[in-house]
Amino acid sequence: MKEWRSSMNTSCCARSRLGVHAFCCALIVGLGSLLAFNQQARANVFAAHLETSATSWNFQSGPITFSYRLNQPATSVNIEIYRAADPNTVIRTITNCPTARGLNQVSWDGTDDLGTRCLPATITNSA
């Protein structure tokens, strides 16, 4: 089935002592039309299908893109990145992420909230 909405977000902005990252811009995709969708009948929203298309990645070559699906439009979506060994320590919060129902995509440039670039890495889907 054809997706009716697939947002590639380049507007997610992160808190950073170095300021707004280069990939963070002001482009908000389709929010106006999104909010027109049946506002009085919005569902309780949840995200699922968090995935990445990459099997290996080196941040030196650019940001990584990952995706999630929302069952319904959301009012706000944040993405938290944390060390697997320490789920309570969020190293990066990406805010203003796409809120559309369906497939959404977000870029991460590999930096944490302090602006420190994270590591070259391989990415493994644990599924």
């Binding site: 949840f46 069952n71 319904q72 706000s76 070259p120 644990s126």
Partner: protein, 574 residues
């Protein structure tokens, strides 16, 4: 691969608007603004089950068992074929890259294309203790098989095959058309539950009816041949220990929480000819075995709010589904005849309404409507009568659910973890002085970062040195540094001791003068010559720079404190 920096992601999705209508509202996606996403997609969706276990890699996935294949029942149906369909949490078909909806739909069909015997599947349900197992009951092919699929539909087991390998005698032979099957438990504790709707008049193959059967299948993957470990309401007496005239169970559901202690069963109707709704909620023990009835409802007329369908004449019949959302204390039962949903209290069984219509009903008894809740409390209905799958938003108001969903991605650094070449060293200093810890580490493939802690308190980051200026007593303690590179390593503990009084007024006369110099000189050893323990433990310290000897460096500090007839300057030792 060596241990690396592993990261995970979680998506926090919030709906601050929600359903403000106060009632259950159809919020089925309409991609084109007109037609619901489920329009004409399914022939007869008889079953729906949703993975609502947030820790599952397949969290949010929706499974729909389709029991009629073509336009013969729903003109325009594109999801042809009996089988199980995989959908995303937004109701789009999972997979399916083809350009046409039909092709995409069929690419998500995971049963009939690989297993020819899966005909007319009825209910499908996720193993509540293992979301990677989906059990599907087979209805109308005369075999009454029970199939188990993995989460992707790539592995299929015929767990119960009554036609060929199943027992021909005994209680296990007493099952007929199994409208609904459930799985619970894992490993040797895995249990298959089957509810028996038909063959109540003594079918040609089976002699019993209305049974609730439990097979302790354990790790058996196919063709289980054992007798059921438990049978409720066996035979043809229509009598149930807790629900009189329990008749034609059509659906059942666990609380859908791992290790849940309840099993809810809905009957097609209260008795053989009349009546409406019958439900029973059984409790289970820690091993997943039925114990007693928590509550039962045979005719909820007295508790049905005015105006709601409350008897056979009004059409409440063929209760085809029961769905449970224990987290929110509510369940849903669906009538296939009038295509209405009643919401009930999972603690008491009381109908708490409201009733709402979920499409078209049918007087055709075997075309059911199934329902399930998602993780956020929305109700999904799969209507075999009109071929629609719909989503209903609960009247809970806005922002009732946030998803702390743990993603499935790990970033594994491909290089060796850093190593510490020089550990931080314990030390002693005076209040008011500065003190510096340092570490030397090496790593590959990444810039090293550092995090210093005193105990569990983070006191510094991103430097191989930690300088504490104007030290106070509060700075005393055990320090460690974690070096992050490709992976991380934590140093050994280095202790900082803070000496409160370092002013070399050894005779306590509030002066630092010749008399104190005489006392200091008595401990003088020279550079790198260890001082006696007595001198090293003296207070105020004779080893004023705390390097183990008493030499000219210490004298230099002492000398700055010499003040003759005046009060010692506390800054002299800094």
């Amino acid at each position: 691969m060596p241990a690396g920096n592993d990261y995970k992601f979680r998506v926090i999705a919030v709906d601050a608007i929600g359903n403000t209508s106060g009632t259950w509202v159809d919020i089925t996606p309409k991609p084109d603004g007109v037609n619901e996403i489920g329009d004409a997609q399914f022939g007869a969706p008889q079953g729906i089950t949703i993975n609502r276990e947030p820790t599952s890699a397949h969290f949010g996935r929706i499974y729909i068992s389709n029991s009629a294949s073509t336009a013969s029942t729903n003109p325009g149906a594109t999801a042809a074929g009996d089988g199980l369909f995989l959908l995303n949490n937004d109701l789009t078909f999972r997979g399916g890259s083809a350009s046409t909806a039909a092709a995409a739909a069929n690419s998500s069909l995971v049963t009939s294309t690989t297993t020819s015997d899966v005909l007319s599947p009825w209910k499908c349900n996720i193993n509540q203790d293992n979301p990677n197992e989906i059990v599907v009951s087979d209805y109308l092919d005369g075999y009454e098989n029970v199939w188990v699929f993995n989460a992707d539909g790539t592995e299929v087991q015929r767990l119960l095959n009554s036609s060929t390998t199943g027992p021909s005698t005994g209680a296990a032979a007493n099952h007929g058309n199994q409208f609904c099957t459930l799985l619970s438990g894992i490993g040797t504790g895995r249990k298959l539950w089957a509810i028996d709707e038909d063959k109540d008049a003594g079918g040609t193959r089976f002699t019993g009816g209305y049974d609730l059967l439990r097979y302790d299948v354990g790790t058996t993957l196919s063709n289980y041949t054992g007798q059921p470990a438990e049978v409720k309401n066996g035979g043809t007496t229509h009598t149930n220990p807790t629900v009189t005239n329990f008749y034609s169970g059509w659906d059942m559901q666990f609380g859908r929480v791992k290790g849940t202690s309840r099993l809810y069963v809905a009957c097609r109707r209260g008795n053989a000819t009349t009546g409406n709704l019958a439900m029973v909620c059984w409790t289970l023990d820690g091993n997943g075995n039925l114990t007693g009835a928590l509550w039962s409802v045979q005719n909820p007329a007295l508790s049905v709010p005015a105006g709601l369908p409350d008897n056979y004449a009004e059409g409440w019949n063929y209760t085809s589904s029961i769905a449970v959302d224990e987290a929110r204390g509510r369940g849903a039962v669906v009538s296939a005849r009038v295509a209405k949903v009643l919401i009930f209290n999972t603690e008491t069984g009381a109908i708490i309404g409201p009733a709402f219509t979920v499409g078209n009903g049918s007087t055709t008894s075997y075309r059911g409507i199934d329902a399930d809740f998602d993780a956020a409390g929305n109700l999904y209905t799969a209507n075999a009568n009109d071929g629609h799958v719909r989503v209903w938003s609960p009247p809970d108001g806005p922002n009732s659910y946030t998803t702390p969903y743990s993603g499935t991605m790990l970033l594994n650094c491909p290089y060796a973890t850093p190593t510490i070449l020089v550990q931080p060293v314990s030390g002693k200093t005076c209040e008011g002085r500065s003190f510096t810890f340092s570490v030397v580490a090496e790593g590959h493939g990444a810039e090293l970062t550092y995090q210093w802690k005193r105990g569990s308190t983070v006191v510094g980051t991103n430097s191989p040195t930690l300088t504490l200026s104007s030290v106070t007593a509060a700075d005393a303690g055990n320090y460690t540094v974690t070096v992050n590179g490709c992976g991380s390593v934590t140093s050994s503990v280095a202790t900082l001791t803070v000496v409160a009084n370092c002013i070399p007024d050894y005779n306590g006369d509030n002066l630092v003068n010749q008399s104190d110099w005489v006392l200091w000189e008595a401990c003088a050893t020279g550079p790198d010559v260890p001082a006696s323990s007595e001198c090293l433990s003296a207070s105020p310290p004779k080893d004023l720079d705390f390097d183990g000897d008493v030499d000219q460096d210490d004298f230099g500090i002492f000398q700055k404190c010499l003040n003759g007839e005046y009060e010692p300057d506390p800054a002299c030792v800094r």
